[in-house]
Amino acid sequence: MLLETRDLSRGFGGVLALQPFSFSIERGITAVIGPNGAGKTTLFNLLSGIYQPSSGQVLWRGADITELDVAGRARLGIQRTFQNLQIFFGMTAIENVMVGATQHLHLGLLASLLSLPTIRRETSRAREEAALLLRRVGLGRYLDARADAMPYGALKRLEIARSLAAKPELLLLDEPAAGLNPSETEEIGALIRAIAADGTAALLVEHDMRLVMALAERIIVLDQGREIARGSAEEIRANPAVIEAYLGAEAA
């Protein structure tokens, strides 16, 4: 069991965005779905360390990491992509990915100033690995392209490549298919499947139901901060509470 939450909750000014929620993540692909305002983003921010919970705990491999900050969790092996694309637009694609690998590199200020051989070796190795990763996610033609010149679909994959550079054990994907057309969505789905097959656990928040049903081994459904269902794709598809939540949201 990699990541576990126990009665994790988060309130904002009297409103509970996420009510006490417990679950655990193992290998494979898990999805969290739900109508808007369900608390999915809140959950993600709690898991990645951007929010501190109002109550409850987050555990990694059994150890309590509730107090641990974003960078600390990253160093444990938790990575995350962002719904609104937090790309380093001032850098090239390969540089973006190289930054992803930073936790495995030396960051000594003095050594960097003097450009010691260790630093230089690391940089060229990081560059090679970054190039490999970019090719792996299908961005081989964008190696030295500036991020601000790349199309949206490519940027979504760039973020994934960047998080893979950190060699994570768990990858949190925040709406990886948002804004993508059907063929791009299929490509990203294939990519996620490949990543999970390689051994990285994946937790995704997604609105695209077809993608979720095709990829996820386990699905958790949230609505208005509460969990209303959890199970396999078939179970969720047939679950009346889930249908109600979505239809109810659409009718509203």
């Binding site: 900050d69 960078a71 962002f82 930073t102 960051l107 450009s115 990081a126 030295d144």
Partner: protein, 321 residues
């Protein structure tokens, strides 16, 4: 061949060679001590600007009080030898240490702020230092300033503008090389990353608070070193060196020459140090022109001269690997 040359320039090595060549050849056109003095001032401003550029251009922070660190270095070199008998050569590292210590002390709390609040906090710090230098007449000589003793190295007096030009130019080249090295390293990429998206940088495992603090201290130390050299070369220091207007001047150099460009910072320093020289006889117009250049650059060339020009060169068809 052209592509390789372009690559060398992009990586900075080309620029460094050019700078060294310039520094070596410049004395051919410098006619007298006055000319050398201007060259010295350009180089000193360039040193501070390169350091400040690490903070503003690469790390995306702002400091409206950097002149204070420059002045701390300058006053250390002035006051420690004459009032406390410290050897001149030791005063430079001590000044750098003092500036670095002050920067370290305030870095964490101040850099937690952003935008206007950070600007204001650094501004406040700078002005407080400048006021202290002005008022502690006993130690600093007050508004009238203080003269600086000449350093003696192996019995030889280190005096004369041509000599100090050589020293200062060498330090500038060193600082530029260090800056280029830094930006090519993981630390440098980390800085640029945290400027673009602090949250994503943290997600990549970077201790952004520590990195910001470190670069703040580094840029303060560089400014202090330049200040010490200034004191030795000019042999007189006044509190004006610490003032808000001087801090604004330094920021202008970085911003006009080019944020996130080491050579841009050098160019900006050159342009703005030469400006008053070009205006001799029209000193009153200096402020107005300075202000207009600043506003104009920010509106029309918001990334500064060098990056904007580089952008134009990049638009020319060049196959990428």
């Amino acid at each position: 061949m052209k592509r390789r040359l372009g690559a060398q320039f992009a990586s900075g090595n080309g620029g460094l060679v050019l700078l060294i060549a310039l520094a070596l050849l410049l004395p051919l056109v410098l006619r007298n001590n006055y000319d050398y003095d201007i060259a010295i001032k350009i180089a000193l401003n360039a040193i501070v600007a390169v350091g400040l550029n690490l903070l503003i251009g690469y790390a995306g922070q702002i400091s409206l009080g950097h002149a204070a660190f420059f002045a701390i270095g300058a006053y250390a070199s002035a006051v420690l030898p004459s009032r406390y008998g410290v050897p001149g050569l030791l005063a430079l590292p001590l000044g750098a240490l003092a500036a670095g210590f002050l920067a370290w002390l305030v870095a964490r709390p101040i850099l937690r702020l952003s935008g206007h609040y950070l600007a204001m906090a650094t501004l406040g710090l700078g002005i407080i230092v400048s006021i202290v230098l002005n008022r502690e007449v006993e130690v600093t000589g007050g508004p009238d300033g203080i003269s600086v003793r000449t350093i003696r190295l192996f019995g030889l007096a280190l005096r004369g503008q041509p000599l100090w030009y050589g020293i200062v130019a060498a330090v500038l080249i060193l600082v530029v090389a260090l800056s280029l090295n830094l930006m090519r390293s993981a630390f440098g990429r980390g800085l640029r990353a945290l400027a673009d998206s602090e949250i994503a940088a943290a997600t990549a495992g970077l201790d952004t608070a520590l990195m910001k603090a470190r670069i703040f201290v580094l840029s303060a130390v560089i400014a202090a070193v330049a200040g010490s050299l200034f004191a030795q070369a000019e042999r007189y220091v006044t509190p004006d060196e610490a003032g808000f207007l001087r801090s604004v001047e330094l920021v202008t150099m970085v911003v006009v020459g080019g944020m996130s460009s080491t050579f841009g910072a050098v160019l900006g320093a050159a342009i703005l140090t030469l400006l008053p020289q070009l205006l001799s006889g029209f000193e009153d117009w200096h402020d107005l022109l300075f202000g207009l250049i600043l506003v104009g650059t920010m509106i029309f060339l918001p990334r500064g001269i060098v990056p904007s020009l580089a952008e134009r060169f990049r638009r020319e068809p060049a196959p990428s690997g």
